[in-house]
Symmetry: C2
């Protein structure tokens, strides 16, 4: 992961299909370009970043939760005050798909402005058939915009909804018997994810959901070992999941399991930062053991309203023991692997999608180093230029 190939005076030849046709020296490729339009850029051209874990479809910002957390209130106090994840669920259930689509588009503009060209987006604020399908429809609508590539994940088992507490097993049955068949029928998701954590869904419940999902054509992902080591990473590996995500509390056995697998360990350092927790995921130990590590924003209204993958590289370097080159691999090649696009996204190479991010820097390491500010000046998706800096679409709530 620390072995990046960096080319000087390079050029990328993009085909009419929006894929990369060739990569090489400028002098060499300009001769092959025929009557192609030539765009000269000065800076460092990265593969468009892949944000492989977001919950980008939601309604309100949870501003009050942030303040309560700053005052020292915990998860349960915030929920008792009407906040927490279930407040997002109540909000998403009553919002129109149009409203959610508009908000999601605005927010994705920020991800793109920070260099992201492929975004995994999960449902999981519906927790009932209709509202989950509404979220997945919003994802499909946004995916059809022609902006960043969107990978849809069904996360009906994100939390036990209020009306099923404390009957989590019954809710799991609803997910398996009602939701999964409908999601398959509508063809609106590629992955299925579960929040596997003591107090949410057990390893056994998570296994049941993901095994059923596989029968409905959805590949597994797993929220694993965020707060407590419950065997989530091991389950993800057992099921051949594309990724095991969070991992701040992963056990040694979990690290060993990931190291011996193709399951990508997805770390979300912005979440631990935003929540004010001291324990970041053990990036260095995962890497040293041989695991493939990716980084993502976890963009969501409760624990990570952050939209910059470059900032995640800084956090991972500062707090997870990853060297800068590893963090770039983590938001490109390995992010792509975590969403099943290892052969189409995350590299500047022939046959890959022409998704590119231009940073106005001399040295690629600067994207990891200067933090909290915008270094990405231009983004291309499928060869087409966006101009994220010239269209400040904010008003995010």
């Amino acid at each position: 992961m620390a072995d990046l190939q960096v080319l000087d005076d390079a050029a990328v030849l993009i085909g009419d299909d929006g894929d990369i046709a060739a990569v090489g020296s400028y002098a060499e490729l300009v001769g092959q370009a025929g009557d192609a339009t030539v765009t000269e850029v000065d800076g460092v051209l990265f593969p468009g970043f892949v944000d492989c874990h977001t919950h980008a479809v939601f309604g309100m910002a949870r501003l009050a939760d942030q303040e309560r957390r700053a005052r020292g209130e915990g998860y349960k106090e915030i929920a008792a005050a009407g906040g927490g994840i279930l407040s997002s669920v109540r909000d998403v259930r009553q919002r129109s798909a149009d409203d959610l689509t508009d908000l999601t588009r605005r927010r994705l503009t920020h991800l793109v402005a920070n260099g992201t060209t492929t975004v995994e987006v999960k449902s999981g604020y519906g927790l009932e058939l209709e509202a989950e399908l509404k979220q997945l429809d919003v994802i499909a609508t946004v995916a059809a915009d022609g902006g960043p590539s969107i990978v849809a994940t069904f996360l009906g088992a994100h939390e036990v909804p209020e009306e099923y507490r404390p009957r989590a097993d019954e809710y799991v049955n609803v997910v398996i018997n009602d939701m999964l068949p409908a999601v398959e029928r509508q063809g609106v998701a590629r992955f299925c994810d579960v929040f596997c954590e003591p107090g949410v869904f057990t390893v056994e419940q998570s296994r049941r959901v993901l095994e059923a999902a596989a029968r409905h054509g959805l590949a597994p992902k797993l929220h694993a070992d965020e707060l407590d080591p419950s065997g989530g990473a091991e389950l993800a590996v057992e099921l051949g999941a594309a990724s095991a995500d969070h991992l701040a509390a992963v056990s040694e056995a979990g690290i060993a399991a990931l190291a011996g697998s193709d399951t990508v360990a997805v770390l979300l350092p912005g979440t631990m930062m935003f929540l004010g927790r001291g324990n970041q995921a053990p990036g260095r130990r995962l890497l040293d053991a041989g695991a493939a590590v990716a980084l993502a924003t976890d963009f969501n209204p409760g624990s990570s309203p952050g939209m910059s993958l470059p900032l995640m590289t800084t956090l991972a370097t500062s707090q997870c023991g990853m060297v800068p080159a590893e963090t770039i691999t983590a938001i490109t090649v390995n992010g792509a692997a975590a969403v099943g696009e290892a052969h189409t996204r995350g590299q500047i190479a022939p046959g890959f999608r022409a998704d590119l991010a231009l940073a106005l820097v001399h040295d690629w390491r600067e994207v990891v180093y200067w933090y909290g500010t915008g270094l990405i000046a231009e983004v291309w998706v499928g060869g087409l230029a966006c101009h994220p800096r010239q269209t400040p679409v904010n008003f995010l709530v």
Copy 2:
């Protein structure tokens, strides 16, 4: 600090002198505006942010140090490998003032793009008369550009230079006898700061420098209690310093001293984040005791290459127990107090400079909440609009 005044449908009337003439309802002020140019904006208008602690004049980025730190190397190993603060000193000593001016201007563009309109800038990478004056001259040149307001601080006692080790007392004599008179003569600094920390300058050495500085017309500031509680905060209060900065290791006695004083406690949460340290300054305890708290970026090439005050508000909320309103006061009113501009900067009020930052959000709290991305769409300095988003001046090294 948590009591912000938020106006709806408001207007700001700016005089020809670049100061704010009136603030009130739009309906009321538009009648008083005479033939003034009317600029309508939609969003939340903040006082331009005040970054009251930066080391913005430096040459190279310390990219290799960041990687070494990620590999687990400590301060001493990094210095032994040719990095650390003394590598910035070697670099600044040999660079031309023109080169440093160009780099500083580029970097300040990023601070402004994130809403900052007043920046304190320290010397301290010269550590010899000529190079310290060169840095202060660069600060004066940039200050004359008409961009953000610049407050210059002489920090000759930032570190003991190689040629004086281990004779710190002799170097202190040079600072006092050679540098301070020259700085006064040239009129290039308003404050004097010292890095008071075990292994750098003792409390006694710091007191000597700051007492001498006062005789040369420079008001005191102090880097205090960053790594160990050595009585730095208490010294800052004893000397009536404008600010005591860092404070991650401040003692109970230091907190009590600050609480009973007009010395502003300046917290630098980006630094602790970037260095990967677990111990943030005790913002909540300082506030509860009654201290005035400000936040700053500490922008510098070694421990904080971060240029966004909004990100510092997020970090302070997540990691220092400050509520969002307190963090806004900390980057406006209290930042201004920390640089001696409590009556001219940091508020949208008559008689204050018309320094403004427009965030395209509906609720001011969003600037603390959505993190790592650019929410500031427009900045005015002395009533004149900058367009930071339309001029992506990067190439920071």
